[in-house]
Amino acid sequence: MTKQVSNNFLCVAIALVALVATSALLHALFPPAIPAGVVAKLNFFTEHKDEFDTLFLGTSRFNYAVSPEIFDRITRESGLPTRTFNFGVDGMHPPENFYVLEQILKAKPRKLKWVFIEVSDIQVKWTDNVLGTQRLVYWHDWSRTALTLKKALDPRGNAQWYIKLARFWLARRDFATNLALFAKQFSNVGRVADFFSAQNSKSASEVAVELGPKRDGYRLAGDAMSADRAAHFKERLAREVADARSKSIDPYADRAYREAAAQIRQVGASTIFVVTPVIWQSPIRFPRSPPPGPLLSFNDSKTYPQLYDTRVRIDDGHLTRQGSQAFTDILAHEFIRTVRPVVDKP
């Protein structure tokens, strides 16, 4: 009986090893397809990698808010010329942005000098309507998944083992979800379907939408918020201003941003971190000093009231076209003010 049981366990172990080995082989042969919204920009940037020296990497808050045309005009006029590509993608929060950054740097852009990265915390919670989608699966490799798991277990990064154990129960859903997403990514679940959908999404019109009218990644945003929403926005903003207090980004995001900055340095570029003019008014800082790069924060309605005028806002996080022009202008000047001493150093 004991021999039979050990034989059974041996067979289970063999099956698992075969499953993992075959999955790893297939993973190497057929890497995860990058979904439509991201791949359009990635392909375009890879094809034109030596044309751009400045990159904006972040969410739709960047995508709709930074006009490369305006940014490049201001920098040129200030004697610090740039050629910018907006790599903002809807919902591309950490750690997805780190995965995309890796793909961008793999293309070895030789002229890249400045990479602007939007700062926010690591995301670990996903709504049911996006769970299992290609968009959520493709970047869930082990290093990115590990970030989400660590954050779920120990959000502040300083918990004792027994606290982590207790958190394991509280965060079980996030833990299980991210682990399942990693399992899907590693075991190539749905890879054939992803391949076909990636092929279908390469239509010229879809790519054109993603790249924007000037083919610089900047997409024109929608209209300003309605009067009702504006009133609600003003109320919330007032509350946010009253409750504002200095806030550190989570330690895992901090570590990941430092690693990203190091990778960017390796290709000869510098990183600039940006907090966009969102409704949350707490000043953001890196928990350890020195920070991995200059941090430009615009989530301050007192310093930048023009960015919080409801006529230039779509919602809590996004600006209208007029708002994006104003923001790009301010951002470009802030950038020049920040980097000029470094650039001009003999």
Partner: protein
């Protein structure tokens, strides 16, 4: 919780490991019952009480039937069980249907009535577990089996998680004896069960879920599509429903087998049926035999004059259609099958002594059967009659105002799958893996599972029969 989800894998692993590590049969049954209720509660825990109530009532009725010899009292107890079970189905599945249909009929007569329909969630698998439950009390009433004295056995039989929500509809006399004696792991055909599970997984996750978006797209707006697309849409639905349901059944049988229990077979290559009667001996066998034994035969079955038999067939098929849900589309689906069965029976009678006619029909039998089955699927799948008739016109008359195309080349996919299915029906894929040494089989199984995962769509489609 679906059989094709990751969490089911972990769930089953825990069930399996603990189940076989327990020595006593009662402990195993308690464990199985707990796991079955967890499985059901994962969908909606509130309806667990309905399942428990149904089990308790039928256990009680079984005990009372065993105690009394008085025929009137026995009939009374059986009526109580039938009313409770059928009442549950009627309330959850048919209340809105009957109320809205009556209102529509009154409006048609010029007597508009204000109606009140209920916003009811249909408990998953209610039609299946009430049929399990009823089979127990009816069999005890008929003296086909003894009443079970242990409530745990009845609860396990009705709630057994592999077959609880979508069958196969297991009969009490076939399953309850299996619960009496402890199962032996050495008797379990592990290899056969694993292959069956993987086969079911491929059918459901790779084929049915891949076909589903095409069928869904077509049936959402049949008028928008060309006639050729109607064929693609309907044939893809035929593939989807077969692979979805038989895939589920394969996985259910495999899970039960890994725990030492045998469930009844539910499908025998139904799309190769040579007549509609043959089709019903191959499709959802557990339901058709249930309806035969508990409805058709009590109605009179094949005894009596011809019109009487045809009446029995039509009643059985109409109720069989209605069993799937409260909608006229299901009633028409049942009626189409009933009519086909009557016509087939009449044809067999007329050509009994005419070998030439039999020869002709031998060549036409299969295409006619599959064509009629597909025509009936249109009503089964359509959202309502307004969507069914345009699809029917396109499929039957090759006429459609629509211009959208699903891709006629996809009919080749149907041909390819039909060839694989045909080879499978010839037994080309069965048993060859039996003589392989165990470690090699394990390695091959792991590799095959890794390859299968490549082909599943990123999102699961719920099992079609879960809604019934």
């Amino acid at each position: 919780m679906l059989f094709v989800e990751f969490r089911f894998f972990w769930f089953f692993l825990a069930v399996f490991a603990v189940y076989w590590s327990l020595r006593r049969n009662d402990s195993r049954k308690i464990w199985l019952l707990i796991c079955s209720y967890i499985f059901y509660a994962a969908w909606n825990w509130k309806f667990l009480f309905l399942l428990m109530g149904s089990s308790a009532l039928d256990y009680f009725v079984g005990m009372m039937l065993a105690r009394t010899k008085n025929p009137r009292r026995r009939r009374g107890w059986l009526t109580l069980s039938l009313c409770a079970n059928l009442g549950t189905i009627a309330l959850f599945k048919y209340y809105n249907f009957f109320v809205s249909s009556s209102a529509a009929f009154l409006a048609w007569l010029g007597l508009p009535a204000s109606v009140h329909t209920l916003n009811i969630i249909i408990p998953v698998g209610v039609s299946f577990y009430t049929f399990h439950s009823m089979s127990y009390t009816i069999d005890v009433y008929r003296g086909k089996m003894r009443a079970v004295s242990n409530i745990l056995d009845v609860a396990c039989f009705i709630g057994f998680f592999p077959q609880m929500v979508a069958g196969p509809i297991v009969r009490a006399f076939a399953f309850l004896p299996q619960l009496e004696s402890p199962r032996k792991f050495s008797d379990v055909d592990v290899r056969g069960a694993l292959v069956l599970f993987l086969t079911g997984f491929i059918k459901k996750a790779c084929i049915a879920d891949t076909a589903a978006p095409f069928a869904d797209r077509y049936f959402a707006a049949p008028s928008n599509f060309t006639a050729a697309s109607a064929w693609v849409g309907v044939l893809f639905y035929a593939i989807q429903i077969y692979c979805d349901f038989s895939g589920y059944t394969d996985m259910a049988i495999a899970c039960a087998r890994l725990l030492g229990y045998e469930l009844t077979i539910n499908f025998r290559f139904p799309y190769f049926a040579q007549s509609i009667s043959d089709f019903w001996h191959r499709w959802h066998i557990s339901l058709s035999s249930w309806l035969r034994d508990y409805l058709y035969i009590p109605l009179g079955g094949n005894r009596g004059p011809r019109w009487f038999i045809y009446r029995n067939i039509m009643i059985t098929m109409l109720l069989g259609g209605l069993w799937h849900g409260g909608a006229w589309t299901f009633v028409i689906w049942g009626a189409l099958h009933g009519v086909a069965l009557v016509v087939h029976r009449e044809w067999v009678r007329l050509t009994e002594h005419r070998p030439q006619a039999q020869l002709i029909i031998r060549w036409l039998a299969w295409p006619l059967t599959i064509y009629w089955v597909c025509v009936a699927w249109i009503f089964f799948r359509a959202v309502d009659l307004q969507h069914a008739f345009p699809a029917l016109r396109s499929f039957v008359l090759f006429r459609s105002p629509g211009t959208e195309d699903l891709g006629t080349w996809m009919l080749w996919v149907v041909v390819g799958l039909a060839v694989v299915h045909w080879l499978n029906s010839l037994g080309r894929f069965s048993e060859w893996w039996r003589p392989i040494p165990a470690p090699l089989f394990a390695a091959g199984y792991g590799c095959a599972a890794a390859v299968v995962l490549l082909f599943i769509p990123p999102r699961y489609t719920p099992f079609i029969y879960f809604q019934f």
